[in-house]
Assembly symmetry: C2
Homo-oligomer: 351 residues x 2
């Protein structure tokens, strides 16, 4: 019988955090790619564009004028998917037709006054300011809403409609689907094993080492065993931390520094401004914030679509949409490639 090798032999892996399976078919990287390539990033972004509604001093869709902000800048999304006052659809008349009320707020957070920078090109203190702003918006909206989703869509490929460095914050009156799954899994793990799932997971990855990308005094970055996107990573604090606002000043500084390193590696991988969607997950808040959420461990997911080059992405279509996620290289191969990349940004090195 042939000896199993993950890089040669397809197999399935289980994601215990989100209760999902992924098909790992690493031998598939050998196939030629004749499909769609993404348009390369050609036009350089101007540092300041008075018509860009995210820039300092610009006028937004609702007529408001942005301040001449110098650090981060948080404002209400002019086209929010969640509004605070939507009426309820009322009781459902049939178990197959269930609708429920959804209330919330959507905010936009600019990371920097300049349009031509991205997080990895910002300084560590500037990134630290973003982290502080994330913590305070979580605290502020979490006072009212059970879930505060901070997420960044970076790059046109990820549906980002504005090149200015920014993220979004959507707070909701309900626990979204993915949050529900992570809540169920983490709660079950804690009650079965007596400790938080992600604490034990981080500890194991530190021992096993082959999926680690970066480690620092307070943080770990790794390609999870069950990663779906080619270069997906998970960012975890070493200490048991339930939510962003709990991070100490030292942990925040260290986070800024490890984020800069990770995002620099990402940009260096294909020498491009690496697209991704990323977001933070922490314990639910709102009126239940005081309950026992010790099974939760704060973490960030990075989901980058690129597979082979700056213009060839992984398409999560067909089989993935109808059956199961599938990946074309092993998480260990991805981690190894990311580990080997320099921590100096290719654009800064050239200077």
């Amino acid at each position: 019988a042939t000896t199993f090798r993950a890089s040669e032999h397809q197999h399935i892996r289980y994601n215990p955090l989100q209760d999902e399976w992924v098909l790992v078919s690493a031998h598939r990287m050998k196939r030629p790619w004749q499909g769609q390539v993404e348009p390369p990033l050609l036009t350089p972004v101007p540092r300041h564009d008075p018509h860009n509604p995210l820039c300092p001093g610009a006028t937004r869709a609702n007529g408001e004028v942005n301040p001449h902000y110098e650090g981060t800048f948080l404002f209400d999304n002019d086209f929010p998917a969640l509004q605070p006052d939507a009426p309820s659809p009322g009781p459902s008349d049939h178990p197959l037709f269930q609708a429920e009320a959804a209330r919330g707020v959507c905010k936009v957070m600019c990371f920097h006054p300049w349009s031509d920078v991205t997080l990895p090109l910002m300084s560590v203190p500037e990134i630290r300011a973003v982290i502080d702003a994330w913590a305070s918006v979580t605290e502020e909206l979490g006072a009212q809403y059970p879930w505060v989703q901070i997420f960044e869509n970076k790059g046109a490929m990820m549906g980002c409609s504005n090149p200015h460095p920014h993220c979004q914050v959507w707070a909701s009156s309900f626990l979204p689907d993915v949050a529900q799954r992570e809540e169920r899994s983490q709660r079950a793990y804690q009650s079965q094993h007596g400790e938080p799932l992600l604490m034990e997971y981080g500890r194991q990855e530190l021992l096993r080492k082959d999926r680690l990308v970066l480690t620092s005094e307070h943080w770990l970055v790794l390609v999870p065993f069950w990663a779906v996107w080619p270069f997906q990573t998970l960012l975890l604090p070493r200490r048991h931390v339930r939510r962003l606002p709990e991070l100490t000043p030292a942990e925040r500084d260290d986070l800024a520094s490890i984020m800069k390193k990770l995002l620099t590696k990402y940009d260096n991988l294909f020498e491009t401004s690496f697209p991704y969607s990323m977001g933070w997950h922490g314990a639910p808040m709102g009126s239940e914030a005081g309950a026992n959420w010790d099974h939760w461990q704060l973490h960030a997911h990075y989901y980058p679509p690129l597979l082979r080059s700056a213009t060839v992405r992984k398409f999560m279509v067909g089989y993935e949409m109808l059956a199961q996620a599938q990946r074309d290289l092993t998480p260990e191969q991805a981690a190894e490639r990311l580990r080997a990349l320099p921590e100096v940004h290719y654009r800064l090195g050239q200077k």
Copy 2:
């Protein structure tokens, strides 16, 4: 208090088939779109290209020469994600690191000898031949494998790497994620309500009417109450049918005709060759095929990405990946638009 209107007020809806929620924020269609637009389809596809490995008479990557086929043509994928003989990864050493064996086969099915046609441009008898080929490949692979996933990725936007009209068939030794969810939901519904979930659902939609797109003697097409993609549809037989091979000749003819109508409407919506991923779900097969699968109802899902025009798609990113699917028009609005479209293809009408 304001009266609830689905097209004005965001709310969440439950998908009882896949146990998921979607956020419906129809008012969001009002926002301007400044993000990525897809490249338009410019180069016409030649009817025959001897270098296209899907064409009759062409040589494939493994050196095999395709026959001069005149109808459908089924062959083994030269770069399969699933192979019949992969060894097992062996027992897991930790509950957070679970891997299992995956075996299977991947096939490609050409729909037609010409590269410049698509299903809606084919004749009803030609589509009927595709349906017969789907039924027999299901029967053939289902003799060995518990899950046979037929899916079509149409269009470069859906990662389709070859313009020749074709679909894929991936059969696996395991029940993929989505199949497991549908299995759980349908089984639970049957045991609670004494009838198949999708039978009752189809009946209700026939009564409620506002999400119907097309009906025929044997089939229904509707935008499900819980649709995620802007113009997503569900194709259902009226009779209780568990799997494709069970379809009668009359049901197959009628299916060919309703598929042609649906795909014509799709192309007419934005006057483009409408991209989508579609696939069939039926009761599991393999060694357990003889068990009681009466809770299953055969169905096809169509997941098309376009939102506003032939070049502006819905991006399922950020919030959608990290929290919950979100849609920008109601399923009822989508159904109304699809219903209103002609059943004659815009390219045939012009002639």
